[in-house]
């Protein structure tokens, strides 16, 4: 179990994360979602002991995480920029990770480099943005760290490379179960991987739910404006759109089958709300 208790991160007078309490059972894939500047990277930095929280505690399996060799050795945090010296060759990075990572799989790393068509003789400085991200993916997956944190690791990767990344992530997770926390803005693209979703906004925890629960939590009601207005009266409206006499309203509410039947009889249609739509509605609603 990964526990965060009252975790805050401040940079001078700027509060990046404030009083976050979270319990994360291990062995799941988490999606960490938040708008730009919401505190995702700061939260992940604290989780990976890259930064000591300004206040609060992070515990992994009951042990304080910060500067704990047993925890840090088993944690791999890949940031959106490749943490390396630009003059280093890719093979040197891979070799170095192999020296220090207890569960490092060198064959798998070599296979991933092939998959992403990365020449290990190249220097980091000569890699494109997407190739650097791909090297980050290689380092993150081949480390097989029990806690793997990927912070917008896809940046610059083309659609083919991203698809390969998601496929490898899932395959390797199934073969070597571990806790994976992914921060992303490409929500719809990866939402299928997430078992749980964490949403933070302005440094505060907004939501932590099973992905399926989140998907089923809302509904979009579409139909004649008057019928929609009557149906949604008294419900929590997350968003609405109108075109001519037709209105679509997104509700933070799960209707009972009888209510769906009643709505359909009034000419309404009901649609699911995707994780991304839910994220947009929830984060907009707080502003």
């Amino acid at each position: 179990m990964i526990e965060l208790r009252g975790v805050s991160v401040r940079y001078g007078s700027t509060v990046a994360v404030e009083g976050v309490d979270l319990d994360l059972p291990t062995g799941k894939i988490y999606g960490l979602l938040g708008r730009n500047g919401s505190g995702k990277t700061s939260l992940l930095s604290v989780l990976a002991s890259f930064r000591r929280p300004s206040s609060g505690k992070v515990r992994v399996d009951g042990q304080d995480a910060f500067e704990n060799p047993a925890v840090m050795r088993q944690t791999c945090f890949i940031r959106d920029t490749l943490d390396t010296n630009e003059s280093d060759k890719v093979r040197a990075l891979i070799r170095f990770a192999g020296w220090l990572r207890p569960n490092w799989d060198a064959d798998y790393a070599a296979r991933l480099l092939d998959l992403f068509e990365i020449n290990p003789r190249k220097r980091a400085s000569s890699l494109s943005r997407g190739q650097k991200s791909a090297v980050g993916v290689v380092l993150g997956l081949a480390a097989r760290a029990p806690l793997t944190i990927l912070d917008e690791t896809y940046l610059g990767m083309d659609a083919v490379a991203r698809t390969a990344f998601y496929r490898e992530l899932l395959d390797d997770y199934l073969a070597h179960p571990r806790t994976i926390i992914m921060s992303t803005h490409l929500i719809e693209e990866v939402a299928g991987l997430f078992e749980r979703v964490i949403i933070i906004d302005r440094g505060r925890l907004l939501l932590h739910e099973e992905t399926d629960e989140l998907r089923g939590r809302g509904v979009t009601v579409t139909g004649p404006a008057a019928a929609v207005d009557t149906f949604v009266a008294g419900r929590t409206v997350l968003g609405e759109q109108s075109l001519g006499g037709v209105r679509a309203v997104t509700l933070d509410w799960r209707p009972e089958p009888a209510e769906v039947s009643r709505g359909e009889a009034a000419g309404l249609t009901f649609g699911p709300v995707g994780v991304q739509d839910m994220f947009i509605h929830l984060t907009e609603a707080t502003r």
Binding site: S45, S49, R51, E67, M72, C76, F96, W99, L100, R101
Partner: protein, 227 residues
């Protein structure tokens, strides 16, 4: 693999070429001077003793600026890194102090054998070897600690705070040079205070700044870049 072992692996391709270049430069310069005149000073003490200490300073800077992040990113704690640097650094400075004495001894013997020692040449004696080792070791240690501290100042804080830390971080190197620095004849550059007092003061300055470095690195945020 331990941090110390990994550091030696990382620096092996740096240390050996550097040593080869230094020895080659010394041999070429010595032969060139000896072809014209007998040597009245030790070329090895000039190159290996007075010039190469700046290389140790640079190693200290690089250890923080380039290696700290890499080790922590790959799962080492800051304290593991610090312990690894301490062992690596001690081996490096002790090894260098031994190399200075050995190099001077070899140079002294070879020049004597070919009759190229001028009367003023500092012929190495057993007592002189011990004194040289006792001077070079704290100087190298001081330069390493200065390098580490100067780098952590810029890595941890903003540039203008880093500048302040740089001034403080340079104190061990400055103090060691002033109190223990030796010239091309192997003697102390400045004769006051006497060696024991100079050694004590130098080690105190180095120890104090090393303690500050330890404090600064113990919870330093792992940034993408310095500043």
């Amino acid at each position: 693999m331990s941090v110390t072992r990994a550091l030696f692996r990382v620096y092996r391709p740096i240390i050996f070429p550097f040593a080869v270049i230094l020895v080659a430069a010394d041999v070429i310069a010595t032969v060139a001077v000896a072809a014209v005149n007998d040597l009245g000073f030790s070329m090895w003490l000039v190159l290996g003793g007075q010039a190469a200490k700046y290389w140790i300073l640079v190693v200290g800077i690089i250890l923080v600026a380039m290696q700290l992040r890499q080790f922590v990113v790959n799962g080492a704690t800051r304290h593991e890194f610090l312990a690894g640097v301490a062992v690596f650094g001690l081996v490096l400075v002790v090894g260098w102090a031994v190399a200075i004495v050995l190099g001077h001894g070899i140079e002294s013997a070879l020049l004597g054998a070919v009759g190229k020692r001028a009367p003023g040449y500092p012929v190495l004696t057993a007592g002189g070897a011990l004194r040289q080792f006792g001077q070079q070791l704290p100087i190298s240690l001081a330069y390493l600690v200065s390098g580490l501290t100067i780098a952590i100042g810029f890595y941890r804080w903003r540039a203008w705070i880093g500048l302040g830390v740089m001034l403080g971080g340079a104190v061990p190197a400055f103090v060691a040079d002033w109190l223990l620095g030796f010239n091309e004849w192997g003697g102390l550059t400045h004769s006051v205070p006497p060696y024991p007092a100079g050694l004590a003061l130098s080690l105190a300055a180095t120890g104090l700044v090393a303690w500050g470095f330890h404090r600064a690195i113990s919870d330093v945020p792992i940034r993408r870049t310095a500043g």
